[in-house]
Symmetry: C2
Subunit: 144 residues, 2 copies
DNA sequence: TATTCGCAGGCTTTAGAGAACATATTTTGC
DNA sequence: GCAAAATATGTTCTCTAAAGCCTGCGAATA
């Protein structure tokens, strides 16, 4: 569904959001350990999220990554996914056709429209806070 | 969503089903051209479908692949997908966690369950005939 | 018996995933 | 203030698995 990079991006964002709400700034090493991702690869992904104003970064000792608390409520999953994976998840044809639309659909087009709408709806209406909260209360996990 | 191999498997099955209903047996070359897939790669995929009794093959001159007409109504998309991609599409965690279930869910688990159910439902309730029919009437396409 | 085909295995290419390393910037300890 | 440590940034390299290709073999039909 998502690329590995995107999976890490989502998990990292959730973790950073959780820590930021407690006023903490977390560094790369901690993030990678906490979400179970390769450190170097994670660095690249986080940079991309910084460039797109989803995360803030702070260099130097006691530095790391954070999300402004107010942003935790306004950043939607869809923004993170779009930053890393682009819009392939909405646009791409289920059967891999270059041109697949209502006019010239593949045989599964109509059926898949429904699944896509469902997914799009979830991504566009879920903010980081909601996910952070489940984590906080201990009813969801980021690794294992 | 699906692997390339699986996309080709679905498209090939639909095309073969359509031709089989007209009593025609089609060879690899024709199939590959018709669905826009690489010939050698397609060969492997078709072999896999034969092994799993989704397609029949006929060797020698005038040979090729076919589907028994009665099977066109009973073969569901889910069988084709399972043969090529296994059950990753149902089981895999949206965030790539090894262990992600109702007891220890990832933060998106519940939300994704819905999308998965939707998809599973489509695959298990769509037979080849239905897809063949749309193609026949010219309201859907397998290439471009 | 020659030709047309599927079958089988291995080889090559490509793109995603991950690693390594050098650089730049900020804080901290003295 | 200054050196040193801690940290993000940026570039390039390597690994790996999916995707795609090649070549020879064997069966069936005309």
């Amino acid at each position: 569904m998502f690329s590995k990079a995107c999976e890490y991006a989502i998990k990292a964002s959730i973790y950073i959001a959780q820590q930021s709400l407690q006023g903490k700034c977390v560094n790369l090493k901690t993030i990678a350990k906490e979400i179970g991702s390769p450190e170097a690869f994670t660095a690249k992904i986080l940079q991309e999220l910084v460039k797109n104003n989803i995360l803030k970064s702070k260099k130097g000792s006691k530095g790391g990554f954070l999300i402004e608390p107010k942003s935790v409520y306004t950043i939607m999953l869809s923004e993170i996914v779009y930053t890393i994976d682009g819009d392939s998840i909405y646009k791409g044809c289920g059967l891999g056709l270059k041109q697949c639309n209502a006019q010239k659909p593949c045989p599964l087009h109509t059926k898949f429209l429904d699944v896509r709408k469902n997914l799009k709806n979830i991504l566009e209406n879920t903010n980081l806070y909601e996910l952070t909260n489940d984590l906080e209360v201990g009813i969801s996990y980021l690794n294992r």
